[in-house]
């Protein structure tokens, strides 16, 4: 409820605005690259094929194209929204945080411990309420991935404390 209220307040995120922000960002990146590249050593007395040659051309191109995008966004009458602040998108953001936590636990505790927990949490979050089914499918999936990857094909999985 709160989210939808905030959304109305915010008025959604318009693609046009997003374009303008992203083009400014790209211009800044381009300038940063140009500064960074100027510190690169010039090999063989300023020959054109130094390490700075290619990035410099690209940085100029990026700045040029981003300015073009900025101008065309100003002219554009497109009022479509990006959907970046939609209710649905919030589900994606929570999933991203969940993935981040999973990656941290995976690194510390290993695949066999982290994966069932992650799956139980995420599948529950996506709306499955039947707990026996939920736990069974999470453990089963972990088991299948582990046996196919690690046991059958010897593909390494994060071992964590068990390794």
């Amino acid at each position: 409820m709160l989210f939808s209220y905030l959304l109305q307040l915010h008025g959604g995120a318009i693609v046009k605005k997003g374009n303008m922000i992203i083009s400014i960002l790209f211009v800044l990146i381009g300038i940063y690259i140009l500064i960074e590249v100027s510190t690169f050593p010039s090999v063989g007395g300023g020959q054109i094929t130094g390490p700075d040659f290619f990035p410099r051309i690209l940085a100029f191109t990026l700045i040029g194209l981003s300015v073009l995008l900025f101008i065309s966004s100003i002219i554009s009458k497109d009022e479509s929204t990006t959907g970046l602040f939609d209710i649905y998108a919030i589900k994606a953001y929570i999933t991203m945080i969940g993935l981040l936590v999973y990656m941290i636990v995976l690194n510390a505790a290993g695949f066999i411990i982290a994966t069932p927990l992650f799956l139980i949490g995420l599948i529950r979050f996506y709306g499955m309420k039947h707990y026996p089914k939920l736990i069974l499918s999470s453990v089963l999936v972990t088991g299948i991935i582990y046996s196919v990857f690690k046991l059958l094909l010897a593909v390494p999985l994060p071992a964590g404390i068990l390794g």
Partner: protein, 504 residues
Amino acid sequence: MLELLGHGLAAVMSFKILFMIACGVAAGIAIGALPGLTATMGVALLLPLTFGMDAESGILLLLGIYAGAIYGGSISAILLKTPGTPAAAATALDGFEMSKRGEAGRALGISTVSSYIGGTLSVILLILISPQLAKIGLKFSAPEYFALAVFGLSIIASVSGKQVLKGIIAGVVGLLVSTVGIDIVTGYQRFTFGNINLFNGFSFIPVMIGLFALSQSFISLEDMMKKISIKQTVSRVLPTWADLKTILPTTIRSGLIGTFIGIIPGAGGDIGAFVAYNEAKRFSKHPEKFGTGIPEAIAAPESANNGVTGGAVVPLLTLGIPGDATTAIMLGALIMQGLQPGPLLFRDHGPLVYTIFVGFLVANLFMLILGFVGIKWFTKIIAIPSYILTPVIFVLCIVGAYAINNNFFDVIVMFVSGIIGYIMQKLEFPASPIVLALILGPMAERELRKSLMMSGGEASVLFMRPISAALLIIAIITFFMPIIKILIAQMRQRGRNISDSNNS
């Protein structure tokens, strides 16, 4: 060549390789049939499985997934009107109409046979064309390779759809990202920030898993709650003689169209299928019936999209340039196996190349058999709820990124690429230009600088050599064609608007 083919046949006829191909095709059909899982995603997600395998089994597993997934996309297109992969979008038009009449089995049978014929035709063409192309490729030196990379990059404009400017920007960003790491020519570290994981640049498999699999799954969260129910019952799948006779000419023509579109770098199964559909309509004696669920209209796109699979492998193996996004990941797979695709592959690894050829033919045969025998099973897979499937995909993304080098840095790269891919998609930036740029960027830079060293700094060297000049001119045309088309369309639109306002 026959001798090498014989060798290939002998190599494929081992239980292990046949088993791998069968697994790949079965997994591919399932992946393709599941709406939301594309062939590219399937190959990216299952690529880590091949790390412990020898090159033959690994590559053939991936080719099996590729062929199977392109075919499998038709199952959900026919039963649900939801194409399982973009390549099956054209199949949904008539396929669903036919299955609505209660003839789902007939539609699936036609799609199975057509996919097989299209796929097999394309592999035969692959076997015939590739060695010749590789022979020409052997004569290439730096300027030609540079021109080739530029040609590959010029496709960016046409794969970007309506967002040409954004596509080009994405391509430039990709090229910049590809400069990260130790400069090959001088050994200088560029943009590594002293991080040892960046010395060799970003490895592009984690980036691709992030851009194509992870971000796609974030997007699919939005329509997760849609319930999938199949109303049609699938009965007889084997097509009748009458149907076979009707579709045969269309199938062969579409397979050829698909193959040639596949060879063009950047143009994938979706484009091939639509072109073939339109051509079938043009050749038809009763074009008005297209869209009502007639056999030819299912056969054309299905034969063409599987035709693309063999075609897309031609530039991949002979020149090291992927024909579409899926073969771009296979390029990564080949490099992981220590093989550098390109003309030298044919000279140095001839037996391997022909094993791949024969295996690819076998994969198409398995596709036909599994399509007829297992169709009931595959239609059940479509019903797997996405609230279970999506979390599993997330786990596979992470596990896959980790397995490449056994380190978490790649996992982080994959995760960040996934988030960037998600935001890009929301801001209408196409993702495939980044991948093209990441793959072709290092090649373009290296060969350009080599060419300039060869000529002592004279850029004219690129245009003095006939092949490189021709490739660069084609590249320029390819690059500007979509832009000119859009400009013309805009001008027409404007002209129409003016005349409209004059009339009113």
